[in-house]
């Protein structure tokens, strides 16, 4: 939208700073993804229960909401982001155990698919340098509606609604990846820890939604 004005008018120091945030974000993101995968492996190998996974997810989200914003500008933020991603990885345990038991190839397809979607969308946002800030309201409303539908479906247990929710999550998380990447490029996000947290959550939600969708359509859900 305003990309030409911002890129031409921005001083070199600002561009260097943006590149530094981008580099640090991707470096931290890759480390947290590896740590998350390691914690998921621990949870799968120890056969963690759904209750323990739920507690891990609740603690992770509480850290994300209440602790990370206060520590993101200090070194402690690194420890907090690793704690969050580790707990979220641990929380994946029961779901991964289930799909690894019924059809391990689905898990690998979901991992590969998530990687391709993330790299494709990030590459698109980085090369076009488009400003996706106009999507903030749309994405937040979309995610809010999806969460509401997911809450309803806990009680209603409608299989088609479950599929629709997962398909919507894939589209919304794809939008969040574009939005967050463009936010770093255009100087909207200057803290690499917060940027990592946002992109990590998008990737994680994308992966779980894709895994459930593939599981449902392969007849293993």
């Amino acid at each position: 939208m305003y990309q030409n004005q911002t890129t031409v008018a921005r001083p070199q120091a600002s561009v260097l700073s943006t590149n530094k945030v981008l580099r640090n974000t991707y470096a931290l993101l890759s480390m947290t993804l590896v740590f998350c995968a390691a914690m998921a492996y621990v949870a799968v190998s120890t056969q963690v229960s759904y209750g323990a996974a739920l507690v891990a997810n609740i603690v992770a989200i509480a850290l994300l909401w209440f602790v990370l914003p206060r520590t993101a500008n200090s070194g402690a933020g690194i420890g907090v982001i690793f704690a969050i991603t580790g707990l979220l990885g641990f929380g994946l345990g029961p779901m991964l155990s289930y799909y690894l038991q019924v059809n391990p190839s689905i898990v690998m397809t979901a991992v590969g698919g998530t990687g391709v979607i993330f790299l494709g969308l990030s590459g698109y946002a980085l090369t076009t340098r488009k400003d996706f800030s106009f999507m903030a309201g749309f994405l937040m409303v979309g995610f809010f509606v999806v969460l509401g539908a997911a809450l309803l479906n806990i009680f209603m247990q409608i299989p088609v609604l479950h599929l629709v929710i997962n398909a919507a999550i894939i589209m919304i998380m794809s939008g969040f990846i574009l939005y967050q990447t463009s936010s770093i490029i255009n100087g909207g996000e200057t803290n690499y820890i917060m940027a990592t947290a946002g992109i990590f959550l998008s990737i994680l939600n994308l992966f779980t939604a894709l895994l459930q969708l593939l599981g449902a359509f392969s007849g293993n859900d």
């Binding site: 989200i61 979607i117 494709g120 994405l139 937040m140 997911a150 894939i170 574009l178």
Partner: protein, 60 residues
Amino acid sequence: MDWVKIGSALFLGAMLVFMFPRMRQAIKHSPKGTMQDWMGYIIPIIAVIAFVVFLIMSVR
């Protein structure tokens, strides 16, 4: 209904309550996109949908 489902429902409910003011703020403060801006979102999303359909076909 087991306690994991009740816990999940409470968790999602808390997320909705927490997100609501942020959603309102995002609606108020986000700039309006033009048709061209939206096309910049729609085109990659169509590619993502096509790729997901391809993955679904490959596991069926």
